[in-house]
Amino acid sequence: MSLHTLTIHQLREKLRRGEVSSREATQAVIDRIAAIDSKLKAYLWLNTDDALAQADAIDRAGIAKNGKLLGGIPVAIKDVINVEGQPCTCGSKILKGHTSVYDATAIKRLREAGAVLLGRTNMDEFAMGSSTENSSWGVTRNPWDLERIPGGSSGGSAAAVTADEAIAALGSDTGGSIRQPAALTGCVGLKTTYGRVSRYGLVAFASSLDQIGPFTKTVADGALMLRAIAGHDASDSTSVPQPVPDYTAALDRGVKGLRVGMPKEYFIEGMDREVEAAVRTAIKRLNELGAEVVEISLPHADYAVAVYYLVATAEASANLARFDGVRYGLRVPGEDVIDMYGKTRGAGFGEEVKRRIILGTYALSAGYYDAYYLRAQKVRTLIRRDFEQAFAKCDVVVAPTTPTPAFKIGEKMDDPLQMYLSDIFTIGANLAGICGVSIPCGFTSQPKLPIGMQILGKPFDEETILRVAHAYEQGTEWHRQKPAL
């Protein structure tokens, strides 16, 4: 039995019954990584001794057997989340050789749940990108077509889960960085309500938009991961003291009586025909399962990308100021401190990061703050209100996750604006702070590439989006299909 192909639930069952040990499961995943990761490059760092030592400790303590949520399950971590003693480069040269000195809260919670922290996955530098091509360490390839991108910024985590190089993984979503790669690689990616999961230990890109979330092979697995990491954290002032329900308990309630909103602005000219068709078919399927479908409007959807590229870059320009060669990270010597800053940041940051820092700094600068940053935050309010009004008419909003399937490596690198526009369907949910999950809903024909649809829900209503996603998933076979690697 190829243990690495199992889901969390399947592996957990075997671990609990004592059929397999955590060590065996971890070894199976390590072997899989050794076999194929040279083709994929999903991983940046993997200390097999450390992972196996964790697994052994879990086996010795009987943790997998005694009911811990993720006892003995190997989970990969996006290289933007701090794990004490491990490197943390955020896909950037400026943090080459940097070692974390503390655990992120989400990591603490994974440890408490008994998970094995596997290795660190590739990403667009500082989470800025939609293809993982902005990584300083090379691109990760889409398991379904090695000439194509896996999406970004959490491309490594998505590819790892899809290719069975991890049973589950953590990523982060600021403008779609979990949902978009999940859609392009054919796995489940969950972005939680802002404030649902602690950001403490997540290297910040855009503080008012970032959230940590899981990549899994099934919706039920996602619910389990969420239960493990969600909850208020005193170290994060933006985390909300909302109780954490048992997300797995609500999964099987079906969709009868639920209203599914279809936003007309998310079915646009120029989107891939097959993507559109697959999502429409999926929505029809939800209708067949008992959901009512209503057309809704998100009138300011067209402005979301513009808002994002002002607000997120402004916040990022401040968040990335700390990378200056003084206390950690790369230092390029200079004649004086200012020279050192300029040279260090010039050499350490990649092109996309520099571009966004310049844009964000400009949006905040004297004379331009009102016209750019302030105006963008006001339009953000309008986008938030759009969703509030939509949720008066429906319980969940269903839409395509991306306008096209995975594009070819290099295809959009020369046109940043084109790259930004690929986030057009995911960004709104971050700006509004609501929750969303992307699940597989089909494939394109030639070549065979995954198509994802996203289910967006009201703040703190992850239960309902997971319930809808689960109902759909259980009636289809998309999630069982694996790439030929």
Binding site: C88, H98, A234, A318
Partner: protein, 471 residues
Amino acid sequence: MQYEAVIGLEVHVQLKTRSKMFCGCSTEFGAAPNTQACPVCLGYPGVLPVMNEEAVRKTILTGLMFGSKVTEFSKWDRKNYFYPDMPKNYQISQYDLPLCRGGAVQIGNKAVGVTRIHLEEDVAKSFHFETTSGVDFNRAGTPLMEIVSEPDIRSPDEAFAYLTALKEILISGGVSDCDMEKGQLRCDANVSVRPVGQKGFGEKIEIKNMNTISGIRRALAYEVQRQTAALEKGEKLQQETRRWEEAAGKTLVMRTKEYAHDYRYFPEPDLMPVTVNDALLEQVRKHLPELPEAKRRRFVKQYGLPEYDAGVLVASAALASYYERAAANSKNPKAISNWVMTELLARLAETKCDIGESPIAPERLTELVAAVDAGQISGKMAKDVFAEMFASGKSATTIIKERGLVQLSDTSAIEAFVDQAIAANPKSVADYRAGNAAAINFLKGQVMRLSQGKANPQLVGGILERKLKES
């Protein structure tokens, strides 16, 4: 043409909290470098700030003490600039919605307006070597309260008075120890000069690097004089930042490179706003101390002290407290005040102790004064007793007993000494009777000598006069 100075002061005060503004590291002074730091105050990637409740309360208390309006809704902002002592290269501060607005500090008859009071985090400390600098992050993240005054100050002396009064209020409220040597209070000044009668302000020049309150007075005196002289020569002044050089006694222009700042303020996404309702204000009000001004007036009224005495005694909370304990059970608070202001303070200054270390407890002083008032010892004798009390820590009663100093007030005994003195000094007696009133002093002295200093001088005087008149 007459010119007047227009001065505004920006004071940064480190709050007396146990932990830092946004993390739990200790704020204790004097620790070894970088031993009071954590990922948050080091600005490590991925960290987040969490507000120290006590720092907010102390700031609200300060607003109440200054009569400011405590804003119902205030928020945090990022102030963006790069410097090695900045862990994040932005400082979390308050821009457009500070915790307090308005208020004033009373100096004598004048009220110096306060524009605003806000909270922010302190920066790290740098040490400078030959070709490098070293940064210690122990101080980074300490809660820092910024108090901005209106440009109401018109002279270096007024500035001195403002800072002294401000310190006293903050100390009495337990908000800060305001020790400038420890960097707990820092002050920058904005100085301009204009012709008297002109409504508009002259060019505002910022002065930094003043490290003591007297230094501030000196720096301001220099700068006002410099600007006045320049204007008189017809020179045009421009906005700049200058550095006070204490040793040279002058201000010099600083390199402007780092000081042309575009701070790019924007609301801090990692921190939620602060709302202050009546309930919170009431809780904070409970900690309002009696302010120095009110205490002074009370001392005048309650203890019947002259304004000057009251002023001296309320100069420090500790001194005022000492006095009140001594005066509590005394029938003669004025005498207590005299002893404290002259003998006690002088002796403490000599031995470089402060009032908290006084070897004479307040109750012992009460006892001493009572002994004098009861006629047990003379005032002159009391000074000796006081000296021994200070040196030995013994009570007045013990010393009087041990040295057998009880004043002689037995009139028959005194009469005997008086008779002796009169008999032994016929010339003085004759002088006195001839009309030289001062001759009695010599005879008094003789009686004191005969009684080994113990005779009650008032009684001696009375008895001598009577007997001299007799014959």
